[in-house]
Amino acid sequence: MPLTELTAYQLAQQIKTRKISCREVTNEFLSRIEEVEPRVKAFVTVLPDEARRRADLLDKRLAGGEDIGLLGGVPVAVKDLICTRGIRTTCSSKMLENFVPPYDAHVAERLAVEGAVNIGKANMDEFAMGSSTENSAFFPTRNPWNLNCVPGGSSGGSTAAVAAQEAPLALGSDTGGSIRQPAAYCGCVGLKPTYGLVSRYGLIAFASSLDQIGPIANDVRDSALLLQAIAGYDRRDSTSINRAVPDYLASLTGDVKGLRIGVPKEFFVQGVESYVVDAVRAAIDKLCELGAEAVEVSMPSAEYALATYYIIAPSEASSNLARYDGVQYGLRVAEPGDDIIAMYSKTRAAGFGHEVQHRIMIGTHALSSGFYDAYYLKAQKVRTLIRRDFEKAFSQCDVLATPTAPTVAFEIGSKTNDPFSMKLADVCTIPVNMAGLPAISLPCGFQNNLPIGLQLIGNLLDESTLFRAAHAYEQATEWHKQRAVVEKS
């Protein structure tokens, strides 16, 4: 079996026992990137020289008898909104096309400590705004299962890289579904951790009360492994949770006897394709065969989550993105004689793509004098109603099971003229961000050779139960063993 088909867990084990070297592993993935990347286009920046140097250093440390960490020698693709010191970090935006961060994000430091090899910076929707990676200012990424389809978004480069075996692991970020929805479209396992579990220090901000970094992998064990490496308190993020991180790998017991699975009927209604409903229902049946029990729950406020999100996220974005003004970093556009307002306004019009400008304008309006109560404050109140629905549901069950997305991956270009139908791709994932809960997407079937995603939602800080349920389902099924065959175009 080629090394690129091994899981991250297997690679780390084989490196640790010196069956293979870090250099061999890195070289294998770099060759794979060379082979398929012209068709998949998952990366904004590939880092062959840096990755080889890093692998050699790890090999040397290993030879010296050192423990090189949980991810020792495993390549990881990093979404291009996570700051990496000395390595260009673009947010897939013209605004930051030449931005080279002078510091590492907390998760980049964690990866380094745990021995990971950063193999490249993954493409995304500009500033993480989008659901298809078509909003990248540079190029769209393609779905490895079908090159005519989108990989989902906004972490589409990260999920495509993992699905195309260009990297065994990747980091993404999730504000309204940006890890889980592309994971579903690409047949990966994608986890959005509890808000506050992973530090946002050095994550380029979109909507600060919703953003969360999380792992993308080929199976549940790898997902747990990468979360283990990045989770934990960081004083540089004031919303970071200060408590001990559990041993996630220890939760992979395969035992779901007595686990209560809540099925919220509002997630199986209009707009969700029948093949998705059937696959998710079959997955719930499978978990029940394994000893879990299903209970119907109701979340009446969930249908308002999308509208709530499109007030809260753009409002926070309009504030966060005010920093791109052509002064401290990034693009500057000005003509001789321009005053500072003209410089700001030309810079921002030239540097941001259409969707980013659109969301900045929504947020600016929603926060402006006279409209704040009607929009932002109202949305924050509805957010409370959504949280209460989840609290009530979790008094009746341990995890919730829903579709991750209403459909499988759609064709590139098919929704670009109808931005509203694109937003519906996130209808099942957005409520989770509103409540700050953890949720995982994993493959549960195929339609037209495209993967379907099952979403399991957990209670606050209960990633362990999510991993346990997801792992038990995965072990009883074969979906995760299927790998995309990247067509020769």
Partner: protein, 97 residues
Amino acid sequence: MRLTPEEVDHITLLARLELSPAERERAAGELSQILDYFEQLKQLDTENVEPTEHVLPINNVLRVDETRPCLSLEAVLQNAPEHASGMFQVPRVVEAE
């Protein structure tokens, strides 16, 4: 309800976005569409509901007020479009006498 050209101009001024007439026209349509979509929230009674700013019960995170190592001036300025004498440089803000 369609936004008026004056309302769109006000938003673009606040957002510091210089749009062409065609872009302003498109923005008016797209913003009006999403604002209509927000109307559905009026159906929900939120009279006695507290807003959620953050999902965690974390408040007033303080730190000791002491100096810590930080980036060098060189590192801070390395991405600046224009800088001079260790400062970010911008177009003139204060009118000449």
